[in-house]
């Protein structure tokens, strides 16, 4: 499907030596063209991210220049300093929103990990009534569109005084991350041999001790995978934050901050791209670092789910 050039079949009646070398040439040509296609795909895919970072370092006359250049000709940190000083958005320094996003995300990851680990132990280790119903419920619940829930959540949180409040966001994000986290984690818990736990129990270890010393370390890779998932859920979330945080600028998370900026028009593309870069690059670096586990966990979720 991917190699578009015609395949050259070795000439049946030709001299053996000539046929072989022609086949080898054809194979080399295919390898080269495959690598070429791969390279083009990678560059096209990377280009938007490159353009974001490049724009962030350009002074404004280069941003709106009639002949845009690939790299900044006179690179500047001006856009970043206007974002950091809060001058560009008028609602505060980017660090404030960074801190908001980070605390919401970390709290979500922590709560979702603990709660989903407990639930996945229940599902993987015990046979109880309603177990199958619970699992089907998880599958269905993760498909409920967020836009459907947000109307009722807005009304409820308004009554509870949880709007314009980062704690309210954590509550929603953690709950939203639960179905997928439990679904992924239970596979990891199920692969830990029960005999290990039984042996520890015979040796006199208490249930909490078995949990912390035996199950927990072995389930760690799964916890990393689900933590990454809840991390993405919380760090990227837009519609709940948009609706709940309203005009309370000091509680904005990064995505709301970046779009607040953007929504006011006036085309301050330099600062907007600087803010987007500060929002995006830490996740990209983080994802490259945890790449192997991430891909494993995702695939486990999709292939087994």
């Amino acid at each position: 499907m991917t190699a578009t050039q015609p395949r050259i079949a070795p000439a049946a009646g030709g001299r053996a030596g000539g046929g072989r070398s022609r086949a080898r040439t054809a194979r080399q040509a295919r390898t080269v063209s495959r690598n070429g296609i791969g390279l083009i795909i990678a560059l096209v895919t990377l280009f938007p991210i490159f353009w974001m970072v490049s724009t962030a370092f350009k002074p404004s006359q280069e941003i709106y220049s009639l002949t845009p250049s690939l790299l900044p000709i006179h690179p500047t940190l001006g856009n970043f300093s206007r974002v950091i000083s809060g001058q560009a958005s008028g609602i505060g320094s980017v660090w404030l929103f960074f801190r908001n996003s980070l605390s919401v995300t970390l709290a979500t990851v922590l709560i979702a990990s603990v709660v989903s680990l407990l639930a996945s132990v229940a599902v993987a280790r015990f046979r109880f009534r309603l177990r199958a119903s619970f699992l089907v419920m998880l599958l269905i619940v993760q498909m409920i569109p967020g836009q459907a829930l947000i109307i009722a959540l807005f009304v409820d949180f308004n009554k509870l005084g949880l709007l314009e409040n980062l704690g309210g966001l954590v509550l929603v994000y953690a709950a939203q991350a639960l179905p997928v986290s439990i679904w992924m984690l239970r596979n990891f818990v199920a692969t830990v041999p029960r005999e290990l736990e039984e042996a520890a129990a015979i040796d006199g270890a208490s249930a909490p001790r078995i949990f912390w010393r035996i199950l927990f370390p072995l389930v760690m890779p799964g916890l990393v995978a689900t933590s990454i998932f809840s991390f993405i859920t919380a760090y990227n979330e837009f519609v709940v934050a948009l609706t709940f945080l309203g005009q309370a600028h000091s509680t904005y998370t990064l995505p709301i901050y970046v779009t607040y900026f953007f929504g006011r028009g006036g085309a301050q593309w330099g600062p907007i791209m600087a803010a987007s870069t500060l929002y995006t690059v830490p996740v990209l670096v983080f994802f490259m670092l945890v790449r192997r586990r991430l891909v494993g966990g995702l695939v486990a979720g999709a292939v087994k789910g």
């Binding site: 639930a119 599958l139 829930l149 009304v155 292939v303």
Partner: protein, 337 residues
């Protein structure tokens, strides 16, 4: 608790009649209670169930209630009582041409983007499988970065690329010869406000960019599980690459493709963040998809949680009908064991 103690002689001297029962430590008594009633799984599930019930299930039930009420801003602040209005919210929805337009936009968008994403992702997954290790890691790494870019940042970025004032795409198109790109004046061409087709072209590229990596990496992982001998045997039998894919690879990876198809349909049907930003909500009503239409009805001016609730209910039912396919596929493949 006392009889447990008495049944185990030696553990503790049995209390003499008339004397108060010895108090066991609270933790021990709780543990015994849990064990005797087999409560452990329920206790472990309790926090998760509470969270899911409060934040996912209860709001859904409430939305269903709202859809039969006139719940709006006066009802939210308590200035006016909530009244039952029967099916009024539903009839208002079904008689609104904007609703049908947004539904059509949603369906057409999903019908275009889902096959495009799956075909592109699968093709790139197949390519990754045939590339050398370093090149494969490089392309997969690039794809991972696109996938990891937060949707808001991606949407803002594409808005900038397609911006009429200084955007790169308009500049590029205006340099190309007319026979290739038509006689439109591409310099300062406005992609986001000219019409739904233009805005959704940008959205299609944006969604393709963000979601092909997931398909490619999943297909690649699936391909690694296909034994190489099968492919070799098919090639020896004279099958060409196209035949090998459809006769060997595809049947083996069918469960994966089915899950990818259903997830993509659901994602592209639900899409909100990107459409909200690219169409510049609340900009042009003709560019709404169903998500934006619901959001506008519920939180626009004047906010109507009843109308929004009716829409949300319709929307959820559509998505759940699609989900039935997902659940059935999962259950059939032994997901519940």
């Amino acid at each position: 608790m006392a009889d447990t103690v008495q049944r185990r002689p030696g553990a503790r001297p049995a209390p003499r009649p008339g004397q108060p029962l010895p108090r066991l430590p609270a933790r021990t008594r709780a543990a015994t209670f849990v064990r005797r009633h087999k409560l452990a799984p329920y206790l472990l599930l309790a926090p998760a169930l509470a969270g899911i019930a409060l934040v996912l299930l209860w709001p859904l039930a409430q939305v269903a209630l709202f859809s039969f009420q006139n719940y709006g801003l006066p009802q939210l602040t308590g200035a006016a009582p909530t009244q039952w209005v029967g099916l009024a919210n539903f009839t208002a929805t079904f008689s609104d041409p904007e609703f049908w337009l947004s539904l059509r936009t949603t369906v057409v968008f999903a019908a275009v983007v889902v096959p495009l994403t799956l075909v592109t992702g699968t093709a790139i997954g197949l390519l990754l499988n045939r590339l050398g290790r370093k090149m494969s890691a490089f392309v997969a790494g690039a794809a991972l970065l696109a996938w990891a870019t937060p949707p808001t940042a991606g949407a803002v970025l594409f808005y900038w690329l397609f911006n009429p004032d200084g955007g790169l795409v308009d500049w590029g198109l205006s340099r190309l010869p007319h026979w290739l790109v038509g006689s439109t004046n591409w310099a300062q061409y406005n992609w986001t406000t000219t019409g739904a087709l233009q805005a959704y072209t940008v959205l299609t590229l944006l969604v393709l960019w963000t979601s092909f990596p997931f398909v490619a990496v999943t297909v690649l992982a699936g391909l690694k599980t296909v034994p190489a001998e099968l492919h070799e045997a098919a090639r020896v039998d004279g099958a060409n690459r196209w035949q090998v894919f459809w006769k060997v690879t595809f049947p083996l990876l069918k469960p994966i493709f089915l899950v990818l198809l259903l997830l993509s349909v659901i994602w592209d049907f639900n899409i909100f963040t990107q459409t909200y930003l690219i169409t510049g909500f609340p900009g042009n009503q003709n560019e709404y998809n169903l998500s934006l239409y619901i959001y506008d009805k519920a939180f626009g001016f004047p906010p109507s949680y009843g109308l929004g609730g009716a829409l949300a209910l319709i929307f959820t039912l559509i998505v759940l009908v699609i989900t039935v396919g997902y659940v059935r596929t999962s259950v059939r493949h032994g997901a519940l064991t």
